[in-house]
C-alpha cells in the first residue's frame, strides 16, 4: 500500500475499511505519523519520491503528526470525510472562501446586492430557435427575486461597489 492507507483495523467488532488518501505533493517526500480518519489508528510512514520506503506501521499510543486531507469508505457507499472535518481530516486552508460545497452556489444577488442570474431553474424566456433579446425582464420572469431586490433597495443594501 502506498499513496493510500487502506485501514483494516478492527473497531467495535467491524473492519474500519477506510481509505486514507495521501495527497501527492504533500507526501511525495515525507516521514512521520498519520492517523486514520475513521478509527484514529496511527501509522508511521516514510515516503521517498512517492514510494512507501517504510510503513505503514502501526504506532499505537503515538500522537499523529498529521491526518489525511480526504478519506472515504468504499464499502459504505463511499461515505467520506472531506478536508477539515475536526479530529478526522487535515484542515485545508487555501480555499477561496471559508466554505466550499462543490455544488452550484445559487446566487441571486452579486456582492453589491444587485440581481444576477445564478440560480436554477430559470423560466423560459427564449423565442424562435432559442433566440434571446437584450434584456432580462426580471420583474415579469422572476417576481420573487424582484421583490427581494426591492426590499434590499429599501434597506439600503444595494451599493455601487
Amino acid at each position: 500500500m502506498c499513496d493510500i492507507i487502506w485501514c483494516k483495523k478492527k473497531k467495535d467488532g467491524k473492519d474500519c475499511d477506510t481509505i486514507n488518501y495521501l495527497d501527492p505533493y504533500y507526501f511525495w517526500n515525507w516521514e512521520g505519523t498519520i492517523a486514520c480518519a475513521e478509527c484514529g489508528t496511527v501509522y508511521y510512514i516514510h515516503m521517498i519520491n512517492g514510494f512507501m520506503y517504510k510503513g505503514p506501521e502501526e504506532r499505537p499510543g503515538e500522537k499523529p503528526d498529521t491526518r489525511p486531507l480526504y478519506a472515504d469508505k468504499p464499502y459504505d457507499g463511499y461515505s467520506n470525510y472531506r478536508p477539515g472535518v475536526e479530529g478526522r481530516t487535515r484542515p485545508y486552508q487555501c480555499m477561496p472562501r471559508s466554505w466550499l460545497t462543490g455544488t452550484a452556489d445559487m446566487v441571486k444577488f452579486s456582492i453589491r446586492g444587485r440581481p444576477v442570474r445564478g440560480w436554477r431553474p430559470q423560466p423560459k424566456s427564449a423565442g424562435l430557435a432559442g433566440t434571446f433579446g437584450f434584456n432580462w425582464d426580471i420583474q415579469k420572469l422572476s417576481p420573487e427575486v424582484w421583490e427581494e431586490y426591492q426590499k434590499k433597495l429599501a434597506k439600503g443594501e444595494v451599493k455601487d461597489w
Binding site: 452550484a104 430557435a129 432559442g130
Partner: protein, 471 residues
C-alpha cells in the same frame, strides 16, 4: 498658411491653438492622461475596427480569445456553436460552484460556468451544424459577407467538410482564415492540446516554481496563460494580415500552434542551452538576473481576523526590489544587514545563487516579526520599491483600477450584475477605446437575428432546422 503673408494666424504658429489647448498643455500630465482616456465614455467614441466582420468556430479559451480582442475593438463577431451543446468551456466552473442560467431554454437546469468568462464578450451566438451538407451553402453565404474566420478543429477537418481555407478562399479571396491548435503540420499534427500542455511541453513549467533543492515543485501558471496569450498572438497576426490586405486585397491563412508560444517567451533560456549547454531550472520567487528583486514571506498576515482564508493566511507576501547599488545599500541599512552590503557590493556578486539564498533568508528573518503592510511601509518610507502581493479582493477594491475603469461592474443584458476585469484592461485607447457590451449570451441566442435578418431565411425554415437540430 494664410493667403496674405503679412497676416500672422495663430493656427500657423507652433504651440497651442486655442485656450482649451493651452490649458491642456499646462495641465499636469496625469490629469491630462485621465482627461483624454475619459473613462466611462468609451461608447460615444468610434470603434477602431468598425466594419470588420469575423466568424468564430471556436471553443475553450485560446481561439475564442483571438476573436474577442477583435470584438472589443468594434468588429462584428458571430460565434457558431454546435446546436444544443455549445462550447465545452461553458461547462467549466471553479470547484463546480459558479454558473449563470440558462445555457439554453431546453436545459433550464444547466448553466454556463464562469470558465466561459472573458473570452466571449460582445459576440453574437449562432448555432449551426456546419458539417452537414445541407448547411454548407448557408455557411458559404456568411463567408461571402465576412472578413475572416478562426477555427480550432484538428487539421484538415474543415477541409474535409469543404469549408476549409482551400474552399473558402475561392469563394472570397479576401478571406483571412485562421487555424489555432496545438501542433500544426509535422509528426504531432493531430495531437490534441490544452493550455496546460503548452505550459508543460514548451519549457514554461520547468522554470516556474520553487527550486527542487528547497523541496519545491513545478507549478502551473494560475490562469490558462498559454491559451490566452496564444490567442493574443493570433490577434496580432490577424491585425497584420488585415493591414496587408488593405494594400493587396488578398486574404491569407495563418496556422498558429499554442504549444510553441511559451518557448518564444522564455527569454535567454533557449539560447543559454544552445550556447552553454546549461538547462535552466526553477528559481522560485527570485530573479535570475537581478538581486534583490523578489518576493519575501513576512511573519504576520495583514488580516489575521478575516473570515476569508486568503485574507487571513496569505496576506503575507511582499515584492521587494533593490538591485541597484544605492538601493541595495539602503535596503541593507534599513534591515540591519550592513554586513551583506559589505559582502555583496556589486550587482553581479549579489546575483550569484549562493548570495541570493543568503540575502533572501536574511530578509525573511528580518520580516519574521512583521506584517506585510509593516514591511512594505518600512521599505517604502526608506524610498525603496516594495509592494504587497495583492489578492482578488484587493484588486476589486483597488482605487487604481476603479479610476482607470479596468475593473468595473457591467449590467449584463441577460445575466445581470457581473463584475468585469477584461476588455477595458487590455489597453486604454484615447480615440477608439475598447468596450464591452455583454459577457456572453446563451447558446443560439442570435439565431433569428442572423438567419433571418442577415441571410434571409424564412422563419418557418428556421423553426424546421431547429426541430431537426441542424441549428
Amino acid at each position: 498658411m494664410a493667403k496674405d503673408p503679412r497676416v500672422t494666424r495663430i493656427e500657423d504658429l507652433p504651440g497651442p491653438k486655442s485656450k482649451g489647448e493651452l490649458e491642456e498643455m499646462k495641465m499636469p500630465y496625469e490629469e491630462y492622461c485621465k482627461k483624454i482616456f475619459d473613462v466611462g465614455n468609451e461608447h460615444i467614441k468610434p470603434n477602431a475596427l468598425k466594419g470588420i466582420k469575423w466568424l468564430s468556430c471556436t471553443m475553450y479559451i485560446f481561439t475564442p480569445n483571438s476573436v474577442v480582442n477583435l470584438a472589443e475593438l468594434g468588429a462584428e463577431v458571430i460565434k457558431i456553436e454546435m446546436p444544443r451543446m455549445g462550447d465545452a468551456m461553458r461547462h467549466t466552473s471553479p470547484f463546480n460552484e459558479c454558473y449563470l442560467y440558462p445555457l439554453h431554454d431546453t436545459r433550464p437546469m444547466t448553466g454556463t460556468g464562469l470558465g466561459f468568462t472573458n473570452a466571449n464578450n460582445n459576440k453574437y451566438f449562432l448555432t449551426m451544424d456546419y458539417h452537414i451538407p445541407e448547411m454548407r451553402e448557408h455557411f458559404y453565404a456568411l463567408v461571402k459577407k465576412f472578413d475572416g474566420l478562426t477555427e480550432l478543429y484538428r487539421p484538415g477537418t474543415m477541409d474535409k467538410w469543404k469549408i476549409g481555407y482551400r474552399q473558402l478562399s475561392e469563394i472570397n479571396p479576401r478571406f483571412i482564415y485562421v487555424w489555432g491548435g496545438g501542433f500544426g503540420y509535422g509528426p504531432k499534427m493531430f495531437g490534441g492540446s490544452y493550455d496546460i500542455l503548452g505550459q508543460a511541453h514548451a519549457g514554461l513549467a520547468s522554470v516556474t516554481g520553487m527550486h527542487e533543492y528547497m523541496g519545491g515543485h513545478a507549478t502551473k501558471h494560475t490562469n490558462w496563460i498559454i491559451d490566452w496569450e496564444s490567442g493574443n498572438i493570433i490577434t496580432s497576426g490577424i491585425m497584420a494580415a488585415i493591414h496587408w490586405r488593405r494594400k493587396t486585397g488578398l486574404g491569407t491563412m495563418l496556422e498558429m500552434s499554442q504549444v510553441q508560444t511559451p518557448t518564444r517567451l522564455l527569454g535567454y533560456t533557449t539560447t543559454m542551452y544552445g550556447k552553454f549547454g546549461i538547462v535552466r531550472q526553477r528559481w522560485g520567487n527570485w530573479d535570475t538576473q537581478l538581486a534583490v528583486h523578489g518576493i519575501i514571506l513576512c511573519g504576520k498576515s495583514d488580516f489575521p481576523d478575516a473570515d476569508n482564508p486568503q485574507d487571513k493566511f496569505d496576506a503575507r507576501y511582499v515584492m521587494v526590489s533593490a538591485f541597484q547599488d544605492a538601493d541595495f545599500k539602503e535596503l541593507c541599512a534599513i534591515t540591519g544587514l550592513k554586513n551583506l552590503y559589505e559582502k555583496y557590493k556589486s550587482r553581479n556578486q549579489r546575483c550569484e545563487g549562493e548570495a541570493q539564498v543568503e540575502i533572501y533568508a536574511a530578509l525573511e528573518k528580518w520580516a519574521a516579526d512583521k506584517s506585510r503592510s509593516q514591511v512594505a511601509k518600512i521599505l517604502q518610507d526608506a524610498g525603496i520599491l516594495a509592494e504587497p502581493v495583492r489578492n482578488d479582493r484587493e484588486v476589486y477594491e483597488s482605487p487604481h483600477y476603479r479610476e482607470r475603469g479596468t475593473v468595473r461592474w457591467l449590467d449584463d443584458p441577460l445575466f445581470g450584475d457581473m463584475l468585469l476585469h477584461s476588455g477595458y484592461s487590455a489597453g486604454l485607447m484615447e480615440k477608439t477605446p475598447r468596450r464591452v457590451n455583454w459577457h456572453w449570451r446563451p447558446v443560439g441566442a442570435d439565431n433569428k437575428r442572423i438567419y433571418r435578418d442577415k441571410l434571409g431565411i424564412p422563419l418557418s425554415k428556421i423553426q424546421e432546422w431547429y426541430d431537426k437540430a441542424w441549428i
